[in-house]
Every structure is written in C-alpha cells, then in structure tokens.
C-alpha cells in the first residue's frame, strides 16, 4: 500500500476491493489467432438496443465483411459475416446469458477461404469530417467492447450534440482474470492512439485521457510511447482497484467530476469509451473493416492454455476451448466476462459476441461460494461499496419485501459491481438481492403504468358514456322544448286565429 492509499484508507475513501487479479502469466503471452471454425453463429442481438434485421437468405453465399443484418432503429448496430461461406441457418441458438434462453442468430458454414469483400482504405482519415467518421463507425457495427456493448456511433454523435470537452478512454481493465485490453494496448498501441484521435475529432472533445491501472506497466509504457507525439492524448496510471473501470469512478479519478445520479457522463462534459473500441474504430475508419473479431481472454483454473486470443465473432465457446487444448479438469463454473460482473453460461455451445471480453473456466476452488449465514452487520459491504450505498440495509429491506424502502436507500444507484458480496463474510448474495429488487420494482412500475393506462381508458369511456348520456338528455330536452315551443306557437296561432274570427 502506497502512502496515498494508506491516507485514503484512513479517511475511509478507499472504496472498492482488491481482488487477486490472476492476470499473469496469461497477459504476458502474445495474442494468438484462432483459426476460423467450420460454423459460426452470429447473434442478431449483440449490443444494447434493437437487434439487427437479417438481409440474407439461407443458402446465400457471403464474403468476409459482407453486411448480413442491418441496424434497426436509433440504437442498434449492423452485423457482418465474420468469414466467407454459406448462410446455413437463421434460427435460434442458446444466447450468451445465464438464463440459457435462446436468441436469434445467423449461422454461416465457412468455406475455408476467408475471402474479404472489397474494403475502402482511407489514406488520410484525419481529413474526414466528424459526421463521416461516425458514419463509418456506425456502418462497421462497432459497439463498446468493454462489455457494455452500446453502439459506438451513437455515443460519438452524442458528443457533438452535448458539448464534450474530455474523452475518457478506459484501459483500466479492473476485472480480475481479464487481460485482453492490456494485451491490445501492448501490441497495438499505435492503432489505438489513431482510433482515439479519430474519436476526438468525431466527438469534438479537446483532449483524451487514457486511464490504465498501475498493475499494467507494459501497457502504460507502450501507450505512452504511442501517444508521445500527440499533446491531446495523455496516459494516466490509476490505482489498481476494482471497480476502477466503472464509468462514474473513472470519471472522478481522471477529472474530479462527479456525474449527478440522474444524469449521464455527457452532462458533465465527458464521454467514456473503451480502448478496445478505439482499436475497432481505427480499423473501421482507416481500413473500412467492420467489427468481425475481437481479442478476448481465456483463463481460469482449468483452462489448458490460458491467454489472449483473437476470435472471430460467432465462434462457439466449445470450439475455442477445444482449439486451446480443452480443460485440465472439471469446469465448476463457466463465466463470460470477468468474475465480478460476468455472466454464468449454462454450457459451452454459446457463441462469442462483440462484448465477450473473456471466458473463464473456473475450478471448484475458484467457484466455491460459502454457506449463506445471517448478516452480522460487520459493515464490510458499506466500506467496499464504491457508490456509497448501504448494501446491508438494502438487502434487509428486500428480504422483508419492502422494495420501496430499498429504493429509498438508493437501490437505483447500485451499479451491480459486486464489491459488497465479494467481501461479505456471511456470503450473502447481495447482488442477487439487488437484481431481484430492481426487477420487482421494474415490474411494478410497468404494472402501475398499465393499471394507470387501464384506469385512464376506463375513465375516458365513462366520460364518453356520460357525455353521450348528457347529450341524449340534452337533445331530448331540446326536442321537448322545440315541441313545446312549436305547440305554444301553434296554440298562439290558434288563439290569434280565434281572436280574429271572434
């Protein structure tokens, strides 16, 4: 612990946890390229937002890089063939999600040639307009590669609309076990910096700050060297601490700004992108290459050859594991992403998607959860929470089914980072509680909206009926009045006639 950390520790400002990182030796082995497997399955929903819409037919021949599904709606990203071959199916396959539920995918049988479409290489990408850069990024289907998978072009355009002064590049990679960003920064620093500079143009931000955890000295050195010539790209080592890579925490660390609870990063003038995304942006803008593969980490106690692999999108995890030599024992837990926020997968016949930063084959030891005990109010969770929440109080409320009380305690601010559950000596699955409560509140909110809508409709109907009734009555009254008036007139006329005659 350095002096500053000790100081922060005494002030109680050392949020977060320091999990054993398990990054080496996997991070020190150069990235290996995975050969194209015989069949690839590209999920239509690989990103936040609307799934893409297939524009190919089964049996059609495609080339590598060819558009096979188009973006739909404002927040979406297109999908491209990650190798050449034949579309063999458009149907359901197990989605990379803990539920094990299926999702739609386009399957390609590889022809083994890996033949590209024509790509448009741009010699002077820095002369492009901000709009053109965003357009090329959008066309290449680039999404946030840090795991959040938000379509990148949407965020780039947002930058121009809401006055961004700082572009924050997340190279912290704080999740244990993962080292794909580390490896990418060591091996392709120059391309990443080019990508960052293009993103600067596109967002209109004046400077880019790259935050890299100080447990990656090689990556820091490589990035420093690549960025040395550019005044507006600065590398900042940040303390290795989970969840340093979380947007709000990284923004505080690098700019001292705090994003208001109900606002977005852009509202305080910053935008956060992942360094892997910068690489994909460079590939898309300079080389015209769509996002077809990604570097990801294979790690965990029973992975035969831990390391970083460049994997074509749509590769089944079973193919990846088989190629890397299989497993050295029983896989107790199969996790996509890091151990702190990753998803459990039901089995290995699940394809790699754009946001797959890692696959962990955890052994029984690593996966072991402890027996759940009563909360002893030790406060460890309070000290660990990077958001300043009271996990023990929230979970106590949720256990009693007092969801609104939990919401009052700030449930919505929970970023599900898992620090609280990580330190809990009673092994209480706190994050599970919070997911449950958020789901419950969401469902209730929806129900409320529905009831309100129904109520409104019923009210409107009642009003209409009332109005019709009223109109009927009024009409009847009017008719009566008219009749009466007519009768009176007739009577008057009669009387007049009689008067005349009299």
């Amino acid at each position: 612990m350095g002096f500053m950390n000790l100081f922060k520790h005494f002030l109680g400002k050392d949020w977060g946890v320091h999990p054993a990182d398990h990054k080496r030796p996997a991070s020190d082995v150069p990235t290996r390229k995975l050969p194209i497997p015989p069949r690839l399955h590209l999920m239509l929903s690989q990103h936040v937002g609307a799934p893409s819409r297939p524009i190919v037919l089964v049996g059609e021949k495609v080339r590598k890089g060819q558009l096979i599904a188009a973006a739909q709606g404002n927040i979406s990203a297109p999908l491209h063939a990650s190798t050449s071959g034949t579309i063999s199916a458009i149907g359901e396959i197990t989605a990379p999600h803990a539920s094990g539920l299926p999702g739609m995918a386009i399957s390609i049988d590889s022809d083994g040639e890996d033949a590209w479409i024509e790509t448009e290489v741009i010699t002077d990408p820095f002369s492009l307009s901000p709009e053109d850069i965003a357009k090329r990024v959008a066309a290449a289907g680039v999404v946030g590669l840090g795991g959040a998978t938000f379509p990148s072009s949407v965020k780039l355009n947002l930058g121009r609309r809401s006055k961004i002064d700082t572009l924050i590049m997340n190279g912290s990679e704080c999740e244990p076990y993962l080292s794909c960003d580390d490896r990418l920064m060591r091996d392709r620093a120059a391309d990443i910096v080019t990508g960052i500079r293009l993103m600067l143009i596109s967002t209109g931000a004046g400077e880019a700050k790259v935050g890299i955890e100080d447990n990656k000295p090689e990556a820091i050195a490589a990035m420093r060297e690549a960025a040395a010539r550019f005044d507006n790209v600065t590398i900042f080592p940040v303390p290795a601490r989970y969840p340093m890579g979380s947007d709000r925490q990284l923004i505080v660390e690098l700019t001292g700004r705090e994003v208001p609870s109900d606002a977005r990063a852009a509202d305080v003038g910053v935008i956060v992108h992942n360094v892997g995304t910068a690489y994909a942006v460079q590939q898309a803008v300079c080389l015209g290459r769509p996002l077809l593969s990604r570097v990801m980490t294979l790690n965990g106690g029973v992975a035969a050859t831990p390391g970083n692999y460049e994997v074509p999108l749509g590769t089944l995890i079973s193919d990846l594991v088989a190629f890397t030599g299989g497993t050295t024992g029983e896989v107790a837990k199969l996790v996509m992403g890091g151990p702190m926020m990753g998803t459990i997968l039901p089995h290995m016949r699940v394809p790699v998607i754009k946001g797959t930063s890692g696959i962990l084959l955890l052994d029984a030891n690593e996966a072991a959860g402890g027996e759940v005990e009563d909360c002893i109010r030790c406060g460890s969770c309070v000290k660990a929470c990077p958001m300043g929440l009271l996990p023990l109080e929230m979970s106590a409320r949720i256990r009693n089914d007092e969801m609104d009380a939990a919401a009052d305690l700030g449930l919505a601010d929970c970023i599900a980072c898992g620090c609280c559950a990580y330190v809990c000596p009673s092994h209480i699955p706190l994050v599970q509680y919070f997911y449950h409560a958020k789901g419950d509140l969401y469902a209730r909110e929806r129900n409320k909206l529905r009831t309100e809508a129904t109520k409104k409709m019923a009210l409107q109907r009642q009003e209409r009926l009332d109005r019709e009734q009223r109109e009927k009555v009024e009409a009847a009254a009017k008719r009566k009045a008219e009749r009466a008036a007519a009768a009176a007139a007739a009577a008057a006329a009669e009387a007049a006639k009689q008067g005349e005659s009299a």
Partner: protein, 365 residues
C-alpha cells in the same frame, strides 16, 4: 417476479469471493484475546481457569438450547460460528477472576438468552450481550461481582492448587481477607468518599504505575491492558476492525481525563490510570467494536466511540459505580440506530440529503 429468485442458488455475479467468513473473523478476534487470557490465567490461577471455561461453555450451551427451541435450521453452523463463544469469552474477561460458578452460568444465560436470542439471534441484538450480562450481574449481585483478589501468580507458593481452586470456584467461600482487594478505580472511589484525595490515597501500593505491568487487582481481563492493546493492534492490521471506534473511545476517555487531571489532580485520575484500568482497552478494541451493536460507517463509529469514552469517564468520575465502560457501551448501543440513521455515507452523484447533484452549467453552452 417471484421470490424464487431470492431462494434459488445464487447465479448472479460476483463469481469470486474475498475469502472472509464469519468463522474466520471470530477466530481472529479470539486469537487476539489469547495472550491476555493466558496472562490472566497465570496471574489469577486455577479459579480463573474454571471461571473462563464455564462461562464459555454456558454461553455455547444456552445458544444451542435457544437454537433448538426456535427450530433454527442451520444449527451447527450458527452454534459454532464463534459468536456465542466470543460472547462468553468477553464476559469472562470482565468478571472478577475468582467469581463463583453460578456467576458464570447465570451470566451465560443472561448474555445469550436475554441479550441475544430474545432479539432474534445473531445480527439482531441491540445491546452487546456480554455487557448486558455484566451489568445485570453487577446490579443484582454487587458483592460477588466486586470481590477482587490480589494477583497470585500460578508459580507463587500462596496460589491455590487445582483442588483448592475448584473448591473456591464451586463453594463460593468468602475470600480470605488477606487476598481480597479493591481495584484501582474502586479504591480511588472509596478513598475519595472518605475525603482522602487521590494524591495521598494513590501514593502507596495502589500506584497506577502497577497498571503498566498489570500485576494488580481487577477483573480477569483488566490486568493485561497492554496485551489487550497488542491484540487490538493485530485486529487492526488484519482489517477485522478499523481505527475509528477504538481511537474514538480512547480519545473520548483520555481528553476529559487529561483536562480534569490538569485542573485538579487530587480529584481526577490521570489519563494513564483511566486508559489502563477497568475495561478501557478491552472496551475500546473488543467491545465497542462489536459489529452488531455499533454503527456501520466510519463516521458513525467515531461518534459512537467518543460517546462511549466520554460516558465512561463521566460514570467513573461521578457515578455510583467505579466501573463505567459496560454502562457506557450499553447506553451508546441504544444510540446506534439513531447514529446509523443520521450518519450515512454520501451516495456518489447525490448530495448529503440524497438529492441528485445538479448538472453543472456548461461553459460556452
């Protein structure tokens, strides 16, 4: 959404754990208490060994009984998570070392059944169980609970052997006058009430200097103040406790003591006499830090600790009892929910009141 997602085996992240457990934590606390306990055994001989064993055993016994009666499903795990044992251990450390057997059994009953299980078991109790028992015993049986003995190290000739120790423990014979003594705090209190000021009364054998070595009369865990402090530092280093509570307790006791002593040394005990006597060290590091009954934020713990320290000094100085720590802890335990209500961490992106921060005005926008 149904509640099944709460009871199903956890599949949500994280898929890693820091490795801490309740048992490990309790084990560390007990390890930290061990040196002081062994020193106490040596100092006060066999009767203190029996007292310690029976207090711990009766706490475990009453815990087992309560868990059985309430039909708790997780029986063994809860019984042996170390919390009941720790309660018994701490209680033993605050008792006169030659207290008779029934004090141990009754103490165990009060601590576990009344102090803890009535509230719903581990994590639910409002008051520190060991302190509840200590105070209840003191109020109900003031005589055996204030019978202190001169330290008679096991190696000395006068020390009772195993059989004699057992006899003292089981028959609750009145202590021979030669062995009975007052603790420093009790002694100073009685002397003051006789109109003798501290400068005179403390000049002889009761000199506070003896406190540093611990060879003086007092409760079983009191003499070893420095060993307790060492254990406390170990807990700090291991991260079992944080500095907030102990530092605040010691400051809360030391600051008024220093002022008082500076103003009138004849009426107010010195800082070192306060810090090294009674359950000051034990209270600061092991009792006020009790997870369940103290606030769970650092700032809250400082408020809590200052309160414990200050109340201890007030009770010792003006109260009817020479001891103050147990009362002070219980009083502040009652304040814990209030402190927790008002001293909360600030949520990132919100102000202290919980309102979202306002979006900053943008330059040039």
């Amino acid at each position: 959404m149904s509640t099944s997602s709460l009871t199903a085996p956890p599949i949500a992240s994280p898929h890693a754990h820091g490795g801490n457990s309740v048992t490990l934590t309790m084990f560390r606390v007990q390890l930290a208490l061990l040196p002081a306990t062994l020193f106490g055994f040596w100092l006060f001989g066999w009767p203190s060994v029996f007292l310690f064993l029976l207090t711990v055993l009766s706490c475990l016994g009453f815990e087992a009984l309560s868990l059985k009666l309430m039909g708790r499903q997780r029986f063994k795990g809860t019984l042996f998570d170390g919390s009941a044992m720790l309660t018994g251990w701490l209680l033993a450390m605050t008792l006169p070392p030659w207290a008779p057997w029934w004090v141990a059994v009754l103490g165990g009953f009060i601590a576990i059944v009344i102090g803890k299980q009535v509230f719903g078991g581990v994590g639910q109790n409002v008051f520190n169980p060991a302190m509840v028992a200590r105070v209840a015993l003191l109020i109900s049986f003031p005589v055996p609970l204030t019978q202190w003995v001169f330290p008679l190290p096991l190696t000395s000739l006068a020390a009772p052997d195993f059989i004699d120790g057992l006899r003292i423990f089981l028959t609750s014979l009145p202590l021979p006058d030669a062995m009975a003594s007052a603790s420093l705090l009790g002694f100073s209190k009685t002397e003051m009430s006789r109109g003798i000021d501290l400068l005179h009364s403390l000049a002889g054998a009761q000199a506070p200097a003896l406190s540093w070595l611990g060879t003086r009369a007092g409760s079983f865990g009191e003499s070893a103040s420095l060993l307790i402090l060492g254990g406390g530092l170990y807990l700090l280093a291991r991260g079992v406790i944080t500095w907030h509570t102990p530092l605040a307790v010691l400051a809360g006791l030391a600051i008024p003591a220093a002022i008082g002593h500076a103003v009138d040394p004849g009426h107010y005990l010195s800082v070192s006499a306060h810090l090294l006597s009674g359950a000051a060290m034990l209270g600061a590091f092991f009792i006020a830090t009790d997870y369940v009954t103290s606030p769970n934020t650092g700032a809250g713990q400082i408020v809590f600790g200052l309160g414990v320290g200050l109340l201890t000094w007030v009770i010792r100085t003006w109260g009817a009892y020479p001891e103050g720590m147990a009362f002070a802890v219980l009083l502040m335990n009652a304040m814990t929910p209030v402190i927790d209500r008002f001293v909360k961490p600030r949520i990132l992106g919100r102000d202290r009141k919980g309102k979202p921060l306002s979006i900053p005005e943008k330059k040039g926008a």
